[in-house]
């Protein structure tokens, strides 16, 4: 279990992490979601003692990281897959860690197999690794000490869809054995795929947290109409909160049947009518992202999650 209590970290006038509190529970995969620069990495660095918080405290399994003897035997960490000596082979990177934390070389081979780095790949120098291979190596490195807690910063970054699928399986089985997993991502769909619980962070502050089911729960309805503006106006007149959204779309805080009635009365032709899918979180996330990520500006909020689009938007 990872517990953050009112953690704050400032850099000069900039507050990178602002009074953040949340708990990553055992047996669950907790997704730490936010746009780049929202404070995810800083929070995770504070967890493992690489950065000192100005205020607040973090405990992992009831202990401060610094007080855990040989911490990698309890807490597996992957903070930056590229932070490995480019001149070492993949196997050597793991052997260095194994030597430090006191696990055998057979464990190194076991982990290489687990993350799918074969013999010839393990012999290559990290300089020649793709980002996806570095992530796999980093996950192997985190798992070497057979920890019960995992802290992974953007582990899916650079993995192809098959790789993300593989990681989901790996982290699921880790959690199902009672392990605690905290993983960060700047992509909603990644977290949606992998996590049970979600913590949404923007500009250093927690803006939402809960189980995936709670956060992605259907709220309101979505309709497309020939005259979306007229429909939205009619809905508002009927006392329903409604906004136009995307291509001829209207999002309203009511059941679909209510939209149908209003549309019928107003004489607006509907093209599509259905419950909105996880719109609340999606839109909150897009709002958070819009201000920070230039590539998102101008794009109207997409009504549906488009995995290929968000993967393509992965920067770094």
């Amino acid at each position: 279990m990872i517990q953050l209590d009112h953690v704050t970290k400032r850099y000069g006038g900039f507050t990178a992490v602002d009074d953040v509190s949340f708990t990553a529970r055992p047996g669950r995969v907790t997704g730490f979601l936010g746009p780049n620069g929202a404070g995810k990495t800083t929070s995770m660095r504070i967890m493992v003692g690489l950065t000192h918080p100005d205020q607040g405290s973090i405990t992992i399994g009831g202990h401060r990281y610094h007080d855990i003897p040989n911490p990698a035997r309890h807490v597996g960490t992957l903070l930056d897959a590229s932070a490995q000596h480019a001149g070492r082979t993949g196997r050597e990177v793991l052997r260095i860690t194994a030597g430090t934390i006191g696990v055998g070389r057979d464990r190194v081979e076991e982990m290489l197999t687990l993350v799918g780095l074969d013999g010839s790949e393990a012999k290559r120098r990290v300089r020649n690794y793709s980002l996806g291979m570095r992530q796999r190596l980093g996950i192997a490195n985190a798992l070497l000490g057979d920890p019960s807690v995992l802290v992974l910063d953007e582990p899916a970054n650079g993995l192809d869809p098959a790789g993300i699928h593989w990681m989901r399986g790996l982290l699921r089985s880790f959690a199902s054995q009672g392990g605690t997993v905290l993983l960060s991502s700047h992509l909603l769909h990644e977290v949606e795929m992998i996590a049970d619980d979600m913590v949404l962070i923007g500009r250093g502050k927690i803006v939402a947290q809960g189980t995936k089911a709670e956060l992605l729960q259907t709220r309101g309805s979505f309709a497309r109409a020939e005259q979306p503006d007229a429909l939205a106006a009619a809905l508002r007149e009927a006392g329903v909160e409604a906004v136009t959204s995307g291509d001829q779309g209207v999002r309203a805080e009511c059941d679909p049947v209510e939209i149908g009635r209003v549309a019928a009365r107003a004489g607006v032709v509907l093209v599509e009518l259905r419950p909105a899918d996880g719109a609340g979180l999606e839109e909150m996330f897009l709002q958070l992202t819009a201000g920070d990520a230039r590539e998102q500006v101008g794009a109207s909020p997409a009504p549906q999650t488009d995995p290929s689009a968000s993967t393509a938007g992965a920067t770094r």
Binding site: G62, H66, Q84, A86, T97, Q209
Partner: protein
């Protein structure tokens, strides 16, 4: 999201009773391994040995061709001082900066958050490597001396001459530590190397010149010129006030950067 913390659930509380902390010896072994398990590190060690051998080969050649120069064991041995004096500091620098350039410090300090122990292990690893270099250099010196004895037909002289073994070891140690200190101070290979060469090769003539021109510099020069202060270590003629010169100039050029550098590494936010 309220979680019960009153009852110690084995799933929420880590049981640390069976975990032993990482021993210093383990950390030392790992730090030694890191010094040669990359191409850069391995080649640096090879180059140090090659330079030592090259220096001595030149001595053999000169000894064979010049009648008035008869090298003995001490002559070969002492050439090591010049070749390794350049490269041992680089070794000390690389021990520290490779972690920062390659950002592996992030992993290292996550595996062992007690950074003092990591830094100490690196320092001891550096000293051990300096010792290894000294032993290898001695071996090469012995081979060259034998070779010279055979080729010249005069037989080898095993006299150390003016060279002092403790002086030699101390000089090697100081060289390695100087690099280590500057590396910790700058956490950047290039900066540390440039500053090291500035202060060990550019500063001494500047001191000499300034001392020749300015009287007040002449008075303090022995106290601040670290290179000059190391001079009498070579033949172990060092005595009395010279020790004080070595201590004071060493405090300025070695201990001060080392202290600030280590303090910096211990406090730094590792990125």
């Amino acid at each position: 999201m309220s979680t019960t913390t009153a009852t110690p659930d084995p799933r929420t509380t880590l049981d640390l009773s069976h975990t032993k902390p990482i021993s210093f010896l383990t950390q030392l072994r790992v730090e030694l391994r890191k010094s040669y398990d990359t191409r850069a590190g391995l080649w640096l060690l090879i180059v140090i040995a090659a330079f030592a051998a090259l220096g001595m080969a030149i001595v053999v050649a000169v000894g064979l061709t010049q009648d008035d120069f008869e090298p003995e064991f001490g002559t070969f041995f002492s050439t090591t001082n010049y070749t390794t004096a350049v490269l041992l500091p680089v070794l000390g620098i690389m021990l520290v900066t490779s972690e920062w350039n390659q950002r592996t410090a992030m992993v290292t300090f996550t595996l062992e958050p007690r950074r003092t122990r990591v830094v100490l292990a690196k320092l001891v690893a550096g000293l051990l490597l300096a010792l290894v270099v000294a032993v290898v250099a001695t071996g090469i010196a012995a081979i060259c001396n034998l070779l010279y004895g055979l080729l010249s037909g005069d037989g080898a002289s095993w006299s150390l001459g003016e060279v002092s073994v403790p002086g030699f070891l101390l000089l090697q140690t100081i060289g390695m530590l100087s690099g280590f200190a500057l590396a910790a101070l700058f956490l950047n290979t290039a900066a540390a190397i440039v500053v090291f060469f500035l202060y060990s090769f550019v500063l001494p003539p500047v001191f000499l010149l300034a001392a020749a021109l300015l009287e007040w510099v002449r008075d303090i020069q022995p106290w601040i010129d670290f290179s000059a202060a190391q001079g009498p270590l070579f033949d172990w003629s060092i005595e009395g006030e010279e020790w004080a010169h070595l201590a004071v100039s060493g405090a300025i050029w070695l201990l001060l950067p080392l202290a600030i550098g280590v303090w910096r590494v211990l406090r730094a936010e590792v990125k």
